[in-house]
C-alpha cells in the first residue's frame, strides 16, 4: 500500500460534487504532482486529502492508518503538513515566531528542526527577526514551507507553492522541495506550472473536472504526446 492512499474520493462543498472518484497516491520520499486545467478540482482534491472537505465516498489512509474521519488538526498530529496557497504565513510575526507557531503542537525541544529549516532556507536565518509580511513573495513561500516542516511531517502538501513568484525563484523553490523529499518526506503538490512540476515529479496526476484523466510517472506524462498537446501546450 502507498504511504498516502486517497482512493475514490467523491465530494464537494455543497450539494454538487466537485471530485468524482478521484484517486491520489504518494510513495514514501517521493514527489507527486497534481496538474490540470483551471477549475479541474486540483486544490479541492488536496483539501479533501487534508480533511477540509466532506467526502461522500472514498477513503484516505496515511502510512496504513485510516484517517478519513479525522479533522485537519488531527491529521497534522498524524504527520501531515499543509501549506495553503495564500495567507500561509503570520504577517505581523517574525520569521522565527512563524516557525515557532508551526511547532505549536510539539512539546519537545524543536530547536533542531528550526536549524534544519534554516539550513534548507538560509535566507530565513538571515531574516529571522523580520516580520513575515515584509518579505518578498518567494521568501514568504519559504517561511510557509518552513512553518509546515516544523511539525516534522511525513507528508508535506503544497498548494501551488510557486504561484506568483518569478521563474528563477520557482526553480529555486523546486530544488528545495526535491531536497525535502530526499530526507524521506513524501510530497503532494498542486502546480500551475505543469511542465516544470512534472519534471521533478515521481508521479503525476492530470485531473479534469474532478476526475483522474492521466496518471503516470512525471517523465511518462511529459513524453505522452496526448498529454503534451492538451495540457502542456505542445
Amino acid at each position: 500500500m502507498s504511504f498516502l492512499d486517497a482512493s475514490s474520493m467523491t465530494g464537494g462543498y455543497g450539494a454538487a460534487d466537485i471530485l468524482h472518484d478521484c484517486t491520489l497516491k504518494v510513495e514514501k520520499g517521493q514527489i507527486a504532482v497534481i496538474v490540470g486545467p483551471n477549475g479541474a478540482g486540483k486544490s479541492t482534491a488536496m483539501k479533501a486529502v487534508f480533511g477540509m472537505l466532506r467526502l461522500r465516498a472514498g477513503k484516505v489512509t496515511l502510512d496504513g492508518d485510516d484517517i478519513t474521519a479525522l479533522s485537519p488538526q488531527e491529521r497534522v498530529r498524524k504527520g501531515m503538513g499543509f501549506v495553503p496557497q495564500v495567507n500561509n504565513v503570520f504577517p505581523t510575526m517574525s520569521v522565527e515566531e512563524n516557525l515557532e507557531m508551526g511547532a505549536f503542537i510539539r512539546t519537545d525541544d524543536f530547536r533542531d528542526t528550526m536549524e534544519q529549516v534554516y539550513d534548507l532556507f538560509p535566507i530565513l536565518r538571515e531574516k529571522r527577526f523580520q516580520n513575515a509580511g515584509e518579505l518578498s513573495g518567494g521568501q514568504r513561500q519559504q517561511v510557509a514551507v518552513g512553518r509546515a516542516l516544523m511539525t516534522k511531517p511525513k507528508l508535506l502538501m503544497l498548494d501551488e507553492p510557486t504561484a506568483g513568484v518569478s521563474p528563477i525563484v520557482m526553480d529555486e523553490l523546486f530544488d528545495r522541495i526535491i531536497e525535502v523529499a530526499r530526507t524521506g518526506i513524501s510530497i503532494l503538490m498542486v502546480e500551475q506550472n505543469a511542465r516544470q512540476a512534472l519534471e521533478i515529479a515521481d508521479m503525476g496526476y492530470v485531473l479534469v473536472q474532478g476526475a483522474n484523466r492521466y496518471t503516470d510517472t512525471g517523465a511518462a506524462l511529459m513524453a505522452d504526446p496526448e498529454v503534451r498537446r492538451t495540457f502542456l501546450g505542445g
Binding site: 503570520f90 510575526m93 512553518r147
Partner: protein, 335 residues
Amino acid sequence: MDILNALVAILNYVVVPATAYGAQLALGALGVTLIYGILRFSNFAHGDTMAFGTAITILITWALQSAGIGFGPLPTALIALPFGIAATALLVLGTDKIVYSYYRKVRAAPVVLTMVSVGVMFLMNGLTRLLIGVDEIKFADGARFLISAQEFKKATGLAEPLAIRSTQAITVITAAIVVAALFWFLAKTRTGKSMRAFSDNEDLALLSGINPSRVVAMTWIIAAALATIAGTLYGLDKSFKAFNYFQLLLPVFAAAIVGGLGNPLGAIAGGFIIAYSEVAVTYAWKKVAMYLIPGFQPDSLLQLLSTEYKFAVSFTILIIVLLFKPTGLFKGKSV
C-alpha cells in the same frame, strides 16, 4: 519668571491631568483593540465592563475598609483590584459562553457581534446599577497628594501652583506596569504568541494546532483585567458613576481607532492623543497667554470649547481619522 509660571500652569492644568487621563484611556483602548484583533468585533460593552469591574472593586474596598484593612498611603482599592478583576473575568467568560460563543459558531458577521455587544452593554449597565446604584461614589483613600500646591509654591517661590495627586501618580505607574507586562506577555510567552498568531491568520493558527477556545478565553480574561484596572484608576482619579463609564466608551473607542484597531501600540498612542486633545481644547488658556504676552488682557477665557462639550473632541478626531486614515495612525485593521 513669567515663562516659568506659564510652564507650571500648563503642567498643572494640562500635562498632569491629561497624562493620567491618557493612561486610563490607553488601558481601556488596549482592551477594545485586543478584542477587535482576536475576536474580530467592536465590543461596545467594554465601557460597562469597566463600570462593573470598578463597582466590584469598590464593594470589596468598602468591605476591607470596614474590616480595618488599609494600604497605608496607597488607596485600599489597589488591594481590592485583583478581586474585581477575577469577578469581571468570570462575568465576561460567562457572557462569552452564553452569548458570544453561539454567534462565533454560526460564523456571524462582525457587525452582528457588535450589535450583540450593544445588548450585552445594556445588560451589564443595568447589572452595575443594581449592584451599586447610580450615584457618584468617591472611594479614593490614603495620601491625597504627591506634591501639593502649597508645598510647591513654598519650595519654588512661583506664583503658579503645581499639584500632583497621588491617584494621578498611581494611575501612570500602574498603567506603565500593566502595559509592560502585557507587551512582554504578547511578545515572549507561548500563549501570547499564539494569541497574536490567531489575530494574524485564524485559519493558519487552527492548522498549526492552536486551540481557539483557549485563545478566546485568554483574550476575555486579559480584556477584563484591563477594563477593571482602567475603570478603577479612572474612578480613583475622578469618581465612580455608572453613567460616566458608559460615556467613556466614546473616547476609549476613539483612542483605539485613532491608533489603529488591533494594534496595541496604537491604542496607547491613541489614548494619549485623545486625552491631550480633550484637555487642551477645553482648557482656558487666558492665564498662560497673560504670562507669555506681557500687557495682554484678553476679554474671553481663551477656551476653545467648554468642558461640557469635551466628547465633541473625541468625535471630531475620530471622524478626521476615519476620513483620511481609516486604518489609524499606526498600522491597524480598517473598520
